[in-house]
Symmetry: C2
Subunit: 141 residues, 2 copies
Amino acid sequence: MQKQIEKYRKKGMKLTPQRLAILEYLDGNTAHPTAEDIYRAVKKKHPTLSFATVYNTLQALVNMGEVMELTIDPERKHFDPDTTPHHHVICTRCGRIGDVFVDYSRRLELPEEVTRSFTVTSNHIDFYGVCKNCERKRRTK
Amino acid sequence: MQKQIEKYRKKGMKLTPQRLAILEYLDGNTAHPTAEDIYRAVKKKHPTLSFATVYNTLQALVNMGEVMELTIDPERKHFDPDTTPHHHVICTRCGRIGDVFVDYSRRLELPEEVTRSFTVTSNHIDFYGVCKNCERKRRTK
DNA sequence: TTCAAAAGTTGGAATCGTTCTAAACAGTCG
DNA sequence: CGACTGTTTAGAACGATTCCAACTTTTGAA
Ligand SMILES: [Mn+2]
Ligand SMILES: [Mn+2]
Ligand SMILES: [Zn+2]
Ligand SMILES: [Zn+2]
C-alpha cells in the first residue's frame, strides 16, 4: 500500500484523504466492485463523499492504467484494481465475479476469415457458471 | 424468413407489422445492431414506430432464445440474431463487431482453484483489435 | 363475417447509472 | 497574506432503457 501511494505521488496525483480511502479500499480487492460499492464503503469514513469523487478518482486511475473497467455486467460497470491480463468467471445466479489467471492466447488461433478483416491484439474470456455458494443454496431448497 | 414467421406464430407470438419489420431487419443481420440501429432502420417503413416497441420485441425475442443480448459495449446493448454459440472480435477504433465461429471450449481448461469455487458451463471470448478499414485509414493519414 | 379478450403499440414520463457544472475548498508558492 | 491549481461537493443534466396508461390490432371462437 505504501508503494502504491508513492507511485501515485510520483505520477503527480494529489493524494487527498478521499482518494487515499478509495485506494485503500481497492488495494488487493478481488471483488470487482461497482462505483456504488466503493461509494458505500468509503462513505463510512468520509460521510461527505460524493459519487462525483468516486467516479473522478476511478477515471483518473483508469487513465493511469492502475484500474481496469469491466464490461461484464450489462447493468453497471465493475472495476478491477488488478491490471495484469486475466479472465473472469461470472456466477449467473448471484453475479459474483472470480478471476482466472491463465493466458490462453496461444490456444486461441483465429480462422483466416477473421484475420483477413481484423488485426487482433488481445482477448478476454468470460466464463459463465454457478458458484459453490449458489449451488449449495439450490440443493438445500 | 417464412420459416421464422411460422416459428414465431407457433410460439404464440402475435405478428404485427412492426414485429415483422423488426424480424426482417434482424434476419441474417451480422452487424450486431443496437436498439437504436433497429429503431432507425425500421422507422423508415413504420414512421410511428416507438422505442418501446423495439425494446418490447427484443425482450420477447431474447426470452424466446431467438436473439442474444451482447454485453460488449459499455455504452449500450447490442443484439445478435445468431444464437449459435460463437465469439466476437471488436475493433477498438470504430466499434465494429465481427463473429468468430470456433468452439475453443476444449482448450480452455480451468485451474483447480477456479473449479473449486465455480461450476463453469459456458464461455464467451472477446477478441480486440483493429479492423482493416480503420487500419487503412490510419496509414493514409 | 363478427366480436371481444388478450396482446401489442404508442408518446411521454420515469428510472438508473454515469457525467457534467459551478461554487466552495485545500495545498503550494511567492 | 493572495493567487494559482487541482479537488470535492451537491445537484443538474444526460443517455439508454423501462414503465405507464390510453388506445389499437390480432386472433380465434361463435
Ligand atoms: Mn479480475
Ligand atoms: Mn455474433
Ligand atoms: Zn453465485
Ligand atoms: Zn474499425
